[in-house]
């Protein structure tokens, strides 16, 4: 379990958008649209970040140093426009880990109190409210 020290602890709890962004960047550097696709795919379309929410969160994460820019280049899977890539910092990685641990503890509690029985994976509606 991650050490929730003073440095990391002051970022918690993260907003859902921020945590999803950190989570998707934990799998490697991505550009904005890549983050959006990854978040939507990993939640089976239930969490869709709007462009505004996405970049406002990115801006805040950049400001506090949880992510950094990783240069500009084109994405062969999309058009030949140049895109700015983002990556996790070490601090960002430990914050994401601490947040995951915090959530895991909550889920464990929920399971203990039998809240997860017979659940069909329902979460809050996402950006496009599918």
């Amino acid at each position: 379990m991650a050490q929730v020290g003073g440095d990391v602890g002051r970022f918690l709890p993260l907003t859902p958008a921020a945590f999803h962004i950190l989570l998707s960047l934990a799998g490697g550097e991505r550009h904005g649209y890549g983050i959006m696709q990854e978040v939507s795919a990993s939640t089976e379309g239930q969490m869709r970040l709007g462009p505004g929410t996405l970049y406002r969160s990115i801006k805040q994460l950049l400001e506090v140093g949880l992510i950094t820019e990783a240069g500009q280049r084109t994405d062969p899977a999309l058009s030949d426009e140049r895109r700015r890539y983002y990556q996790l910092t070490d601090l960002g990685r430990s914050v994401a880990r601490a947040e995951a641990a915090r959530l895991a503890r909550l889920v464990a509690q929920a399971r203990e109190r039998k809240l997860l029985e017979g659940l069909s994976g329902e979460t809050r509606p996402g950006w496009e409210g599918l």
Partner: protein
Amino acid sequence: MRTGEHQSWLLVVSDAVYRSLLVCYPKAFRAAYGAEVAQVFRDRAREVYRGRGVGGLLALWVAALRDLAANAAAEQAGQERHVSRKIVVLAVVLMMVVIVGEYLYDGALEIANVTELLVIKPVFNLLVVVYAYVHSLPLALVIVTLAFQLCLLPMVRLQLRATRALRSLQPQLQQLHEQYHGEPQALRMTQREVYRMHGISSVSITVWLLIQVPFQYALYGAFLTFLPRTPISAAVVVRNVNGHLYAFVPNLTTLPDMHFLWTNLVTPDPLAHLAHRGGGAYVHCAAYRDEDSPQACAGHSHSVRRDEAGHQHDAVHRAVPYALHLLDVCLGPGALLDRLDGVHPGAVCCAEGRRRWTRSARCGRPDRWRCLLAKMGWPWLLAGASV
């Protein structure tokens, strides 16, 4: 540029419109991320259009507008200094739209009476359009006013939330005061940072008030057209009214009925006036009540020094009903009914008395102001209502 894919004109237009909407964001945000936000939207629009066609694109737009409104507002709230400039820009754009619209419909541009052109005429025409649907002028008036207030509701809610947040921040601000004793500039900067972090904007309720003024003025103007002070025939009134309408608004043939429920717009009605003034003042005082805040009680019984800004804030909110009343008398339809103005201060006194009464009841301490205010308020209210 594109990867050889069919480029629908719909996507091109949609991209262009979205890019122009990014103007809602603060300049700094746009400069840093505007291009990327637009790029992400473009990618998403392309994907949705390919998968689900026009319907998918429409759904995306609904979501995108909601996303834009929420995030632009939040981003603007953190940029308090730019808000007033944005409002000015918005006002100018609105003015341009009205002027161009006027020019397109009437074919001639008259700058002679700018207020008439920009404020009175649009509201007046809106009123007549609503009247054409509901066939009752008072009802149309109610609908237009309600719609306008509804548009302002988000701002009022923002203001209320800021007030509550400010209250809950009092201990923290107090601590800052002690920490930065003798360094006013550092204190101000830290305070601003705290406000920004909690999304408290310094745009005060005065902005909300000022937006209402032209609208009230316009309704008053509309009233004077329908109910001229000098007695003239109904045919002349109808002709005057029709002369103020845009080309696309259906003209009147007869004078509208002024009766609504039990009241009549032609003669002053104490009961309606009481409901309007008293109700408004009461709702306002009730909305800003602070009896549910622990600091209010603590400050009361132990006379803990509260933050100066908090005091000013409270004072402003207590003064607002009076300011509203003044504006109302000077500019609004209230001028028609100013014989009955005693009602308003009376209602404010009652509401204030009740507020203090509930607060002192919670704290278990009597409040010497409560009796005075409550005693002063009621006769005033009754005297006003009976005139």
